[in-house]
């Protein structure tokens, strides 16, 4: 994929993360101000895990967050003189690590939706 495409996806993923993770941060960490009762209690976690909407949003945050973060990490690492020479293999290692994390995270989200 061309670098400009990867960069554009990085910006798009950033906007997606801004919106959805912003809502997540508000619910989880501004709960007293927003009037959300005990967001990390078992009952609240259970109710959020059910249905379609929350698991879908979690998968979106997972994909966008991992892409945005790992692409940023790749850019920082590629600025280092020694690592620039191994840019392509490094990119593939980061991609595969991200894919593995996404698959594991998606498994947790989907499996959690069936836990009662």
């Amino acid at each position: 994929m061309r670098e400009v495409t990867l960069w554009s996806l990085h910006l798009l993923a950033g906007i997606i993360v801004l919106v959805f993770l912003g809502i997540h941060m508000g619910v989880m960490h501004l709960d007293a101000i927003m009037g959300v009762k005990e967001p990390t209690s078992w009952g609240a976690v259970l109710s959020r895990g059910k249905g379609f909407l929350f698991p879908f949003i979690y998968l979106v945050i997972l994909a966008a967050g991992l892409y945005h973060g790992l692409y940023g990490l790749r850019n920082i690492l590629l600025e280092l003189e020694g690592l620039r020479r191994v840019g392509k293999p490094l990119g593939w290692i980061i991609f595969l690590a991200g894919l593995a994390l996404f698959l594991y995270g998606a498994y947790i989200v989907i499996a959690a939706s069936s836990v009662s």
Partner: protein, 144 residues
């Protein structure tokens, strides 16, 4: 500073390499918060898997995370997110060319992109400060 080490200053370039302004240090902090948030995100994926072990395991984990050190660390993650998100808005706007102004001939008094960019930066950092204070209230006063 660059001349001292033959023009290659490596990681010290994150500290100072000549004529660094506010926006440059904001960019460096953007990278530092980004790396911190990435690390937290990856750990979050693994900690969330405890959910699959049932109520007792989950509540045990939440009890561990309610300790003061973890609670403060969580607040730092919140602050890092607020800064990274709002500075990121500024960077995306600049990347798409919205806050740079029209190109003009360099005739004195020179108009530079900072004339537009600095007020936006200060406004966004003001909004970030409000969220940091609200978060501090929620974390340490109102109870979490």
């Amino acid at each position: 500073m660059a001349e001292k080490v033959g023009g290659r200053i490596g990681i010290w370039g994150w500290v100072y390499a000549g004529r660094y302004g506010l926006e440059r240090y904001a960019y460096i902090l953007h990278r530092i918060t980004g790396l911190g948030l990435l690390l937290y995100f990856i750990l979050h994926i693994f900690f969330s898997s405890v959910r699959l072990k049932g109520q007792e395991a989950w509540e045990g984990l939440m009890t561990s995370f309610s300790r003061p050190l973890f609670h403060f660390g969580e607040y730092l993650v919140f602050v890092a997110f607020v800064f990274h998100a709002l500075n990121g808005i500024r960077l995306i706007l600049a990347e798409l060319g919205f806050t740079l102004g029209k190109p003009a001939r360099p005739v004195y008094p020179y108009r530079i992109s900072l004339d537009r960019g600095r007020p936006l930066f200060l406004i966004l950092m003001g909004i970030a400060a409000i969220f940091v204070v609200l978060g501090g209230y929620d974390f340490f006063v109102a109870g979490h």
